[in-house]
C-alpha cells in the first residue's frame, strides 16, 4: 500500500465528502426547520447540473455557468416550494415521502423531455485541466482541488450565515422552536422559501461541479440523495456541523474502502476470497458504519437540541 495512492484516495474521498455536504446541508436544514422529508432534493442536484451545464455551454464559460446557476436554482427552488411543498408541511412524513417521490418521477421525465435521454457533457474548463504536484511525489487533478476548496469556502460561508447573521438567527430559532419563531413575528412562509431556495442552490452547485467529471445524467441525484440521508442520520438531523463531519467521514470511508478493503482483507483471507469479498464489503461499509453509530447514538453524532 503506497502512500501516494493513499493520499490520492484520501483526497478523492474528501472531495466526495464535499459533494455530500453540499447535498446534506440543504436537506438537513429543510428537515430541521420545516420538518419536511424532501426526496426531490435529489432532483435539485440533477437540475442544477443540467441548467448550469447548459448555461456554461451557452455562455462558453464554466464560471459564468456556475454564477448564473445560482439565481436560477434559487428561483426554481422557491417556485417548487411555493407550488408543491407548502401544503405538505402540515402533513405527516408518509405524505411528504410520497409526494416528493412523485416530484422525482416528474423531474426526471421533464429533464428527459428537454435534454433527451443521453444526458449532457460539459467539458472541463481549460484553466483547471491537468494536475498539479503536491510534493512528495503526489500529483493531483487541479479541478478536484478546486472542488475541495470551493466546498470548504461554502461550508465556511454557511457556518457564518447560520451563526452570525440575522437570517441565520431566524434559521436557528426556527430549527429549535418553530412556535417561538412565529411568536417573534418572523415571516415563517418567507423564511421557509428562502431556506428551501438556499438548499436548492447548494444541491444544484453540487450537481454542477461534478458534471465535468461525470456528465449530467437523468436520475444522477438519487444515489447522492440516499448517501446524503446516511450522512444526516449519522450527523444528526438539523445540525450543519454534524452534516459536515459526517459527510467527510462518509466520503473518505467509502472511497478508501473501495480502494483498499481488498488489500486489507488479504491480511486475513486467501487471495481469491479477498478479491471477491472486497468490492461487496466495501459497498456495504458506510451502511455498517451508520448502523454502528445508530446503535450507540440513535439520534446521530450531533443530536438536535431539545430532543
Amino acid at each position: 500500500m503506497d502512500y501516494v495512492l493513499l493520499t490520492e484516495q484520501f483526497l478523492n474521498g474528501f472531495q466526495l465528502g464535499i459533494i455530500l455536504f453540499l447535498m446534506a446541508a440543504g436537506l438537513t436544514l429543510v428537515f430541521g426547520i420545516m420538518d419536511l422529508v424532501n426526496l426531490s432534493h435529489g432532483s435539485m442536484f440533477m437540475i442544477g447540473a443540467f441548467v448550469g451545464g447548459t448555461l456554461a455551454l451557452v455562455t462558453g464559460s464554466f464560471i459564468f455557468g456556475v454564477i448564473l446557476m445560482i439565481p436560477a436554482m434559487l428561483v426554481i427552488g422557491i417556485v417548487v416550494e411555493r407550488i408543491s411543498l407548502q401544503t405538505l408541511y402540515a402533513r405527516d412524513h408518509l405524505d411528504q415521502v410520497l409526494a416528493t417521490f412523485g416530484l422525482i418521477l416528474f423531474f426526471n421525465e421533464a429533464v428527459r423531455l428537454i435534454w433527451g435521454p443521453e444526458g449532457l457533457v460539459v467539458p472541463l474548463p481549460d484553466f483547471v485541466d491537468g494536475s498539479v504536484a503536491l510534493g512528495a511525489g503526489i500529483t493531483y487533478p487541479v479541478y478536484r482541488i478546486v472542488i475541495i476548496v470551493l466546498g470548504l469556502l461554502v461550508a465556511l460561508g454557511l457556518y457564518l450565515l447560520v451563526s452570525r447573521t440575522r437570517i441565520g438567527m431566524l434559521i436557528r430559532a426556527g430549527a429549535s422552536n418553530r412556535a417561538m419563531a412565529g411568536a417573534l413575528g418572523v415571516n415563517i412562509p418567507m423564511l421557509f422559501s428562502v431556506v428551501f431556495g438556499i438548499g436548492a442552490v447548494l444541491a444544484g452547485l453540487a450537481g454542477l461541479i461534478i458534471t465535468p467529471i461525470t456528465a449530467a445524467q437523468i436520475g444522477m441525484g438519487e444515489d447522492v440523495l440516499i448517501l446524503a440521508f446516511v450522512v444526516i442520520v449519522i450527523g444528526g438531523i438539523g445540525s450543519i456541523r454534524g452534516a459536515f463531519i459526517a459527510s467527510i467521514l462518509t466520503g473518505v470511508i467509502d472511497t478508501m474502502g473501495r480502494s483498499f478493503l481488498d488489500v486489507f482483507l488479504l491480511l486475513f483471507l486467501p487471495e481469491n476470497a479477498a478479491e471477491s469479498a472486497g468490492p461487496a464489503l466495501s459497498s456495504m461499509l458506510i451502511y455498517v458504519l451508520m448502523a454502528a453509530i445508530l446503535f450507540f447514538r440513535p439520534q446521530g453524532l450531533f443530536p438536535p437540541k431539545g430532543a
Binding site: 412524513h93 408518509l94 410520497l98 421525465e109 442520520v233
Partner: protein, 317 residues
C-alpha cells in the same frame, strides 16, 4: 350482510374474483397476455399486503421494503445457479434469509422513530442493492437468469405448468390477506395497532412495544420475501432492479393508493397502480410526466386512497 353493502369490499371482491378467473377468461376474450400481467400484479399485491401490515397497521414507514423481494428472489436465483433446484431446500432458505435480514434491519431501524426510521430502512435496503450490483458472479447489474423453476419433485405439482404457477401465486395472495386479517385482529395485532395510534400509552399500560414491532417487521419481511421467490420463479430471472429504492417507493404508493390500514386496499392499490402504468405507458413513452403529478395529487387530495373515496363521507369519522 353488511360487508356486501360496503363499496370497498365489493371492489375487492371484483379484483380477487377477476384474478381467480383470468387464466380462463383472458384466452377466451383473445387476450392471453393478461394471464402474465395478472400474475405480476398479484405478486406486487402480496408485497403490498405485507407492507401494509407494518405501515398501515403498525405505523412503520419502511422505505426499503422491496429489498425482501430481492432477498427472496436472489436466494432462489443463487441456489439455482449452483444447481440446487429443489423447492424443499430453496423455499425454506429464501424464507430464512428474509427472516434473518429483516430481523437484523428491524433491530437496527426500530431503535429510531419517524423520519430516521424512513431514512434508515432506505439506506439498509440500498446496502443490499449495492451488494447485488457488486456481485459479479451473479450477474451484477445484468441480473441472473434462472434456468429451472423450483422443483417440488412431484409430478402433479409442477411450477413449469402455467396454471400451477398462476394459482400458486393466487393462493399465496389469498393466504397473505387472510394471515393479515387474523394477525391484525389478534392480541398481537391490538398491541401493534395500539403502538401505531399511541406508542407512549402502550408503554404506559405496561407493554414494551419493541419486540412486537420487531416481530411484525419480520413477519412482513418474510411475506414480502415469498412474493420475491414467486417473482423469481415466474420471471425465471432476478436482478438488482427488483430491490431498487424506486420499487420500495412504488410499494408504498400502492398501499396508499388502495387505502392504507384496510385489508384489501393494497390488493386494489397494486391492481390500479400497475394497470394505470400499463395504460399510461401505452399512451406515451414519457408517462412518468403524468404519473408523478398524479401521485402528488393522490397524496394531496385523496388521502384515504380508493377505499377512502368509496367510503361514504358519513361513515368516516
Amino acid at each position: 350482510m353488511d360487508a356486501l353493502r360496503n363499496p370497498t369490499n365489493i371492489l375487492s371482491a371484483i379484483v380477487i374474483g377477476l384474478c381467480a378467473i383470468v387464466p380462463f377468461a383472458a384466452p377466451a376474450v383473445g387476450e392471453p397476455f393478461y394471464v402474465i400481467v395478472f400474475a405480476r400484479i398479484m405478486i406486487w399485491a402480496i408485497a403490498a399486503v405485507s407492507l401494509n401490515l407494518i405501515m398501515g397497521y403498525g405505523g412503520m414507514i419502511s422505505f426499503g421494503h422491496a429489498v425482501y423481494l430481492g432477498v427472496g428472489g436472489y436466494t432462489i436465483g443463487i441456489l439455482a445457479f449452483h444447481g440446487v433446484t429443489s423447492a424443499w431446500i430453496q423455499w425454506p432458505l429464501a424464507i430464512g434469509a428474509c427472516a434473518l435480514i429483516s430481523l437484523i434491519f428491524g433491530a437496527i431501524s426500530l431503535r429510531t422513530r419517524g423520519v430516521y426510521f424512513i431514512m434508515i430502512t432506505l439506506a439498509l435496503a440500498q446496502m443490499i442493492f449495492f451488494l447485488s450490483v457488486s456481485a459479479e458472479r451473479y450477474g451484477s447489474d445484468d441480473g441472473l437468469n434462472i434456468l429451472t423453476r423450483s422443483d417440488f419433485g412431484v409430478e402433479f405439482y409442477d411450477l413449469n405448468h402455467k396454471l400451477t404457477m398462476y394459482y400458486t401465486i393466487f393462493a399465496v395472495l389469498v393466504a397473505s390477506v387472510f394471515v393479515s386479517w387474523r394477525l391484525v385482529n389478534s392480541r398481537f395485532g391490538l398491541v401493534m395497532r395500539g403502538a401505531k395510534s399511541n406508542d407512549t400509552r402502550v408503554q404506559a399500560v405496561g407493554v414494551s412495544t419493541y419486540l412486537y414491532r420487531l416481530s411484525a417487521f419480520v413477519i412482513a419481511g418474510v411475506m414480502c420475501g415469498i412474493a420475491g421467490l414467486l417473482q423469481a420463479n415466474l420471471e425465471n430471472f432476478v436482478s438488482p432492479d427488483m430491490m431498487d429504492w424506486r420499487r420500495s417507493g412504488e410499494l408504498i404508493f400502492m398501499v396508499v393508493l388502495g387505502g392504507m390500514s384496510t385489508l384489501f386496499g393494497p390488493v386494489t392499490g397494486a391492481f390500479v397502480f400497475l394497470m394505470l402504468s400499463e395504460v399510461l405507458a401505452s399512451i406515451t413513452h414519457h408517462w412518468h410526466i403524468i404519473f408523478g403529478p398524479f401521485l402528488v395529487l393522490v397524496v394531496l387530495f385523496a388521502r384515504g386512497g380508493i377505499a377512502g373515496l368509496l367510503t361514504p363521507r358519513s361513515a368516516r369519522e
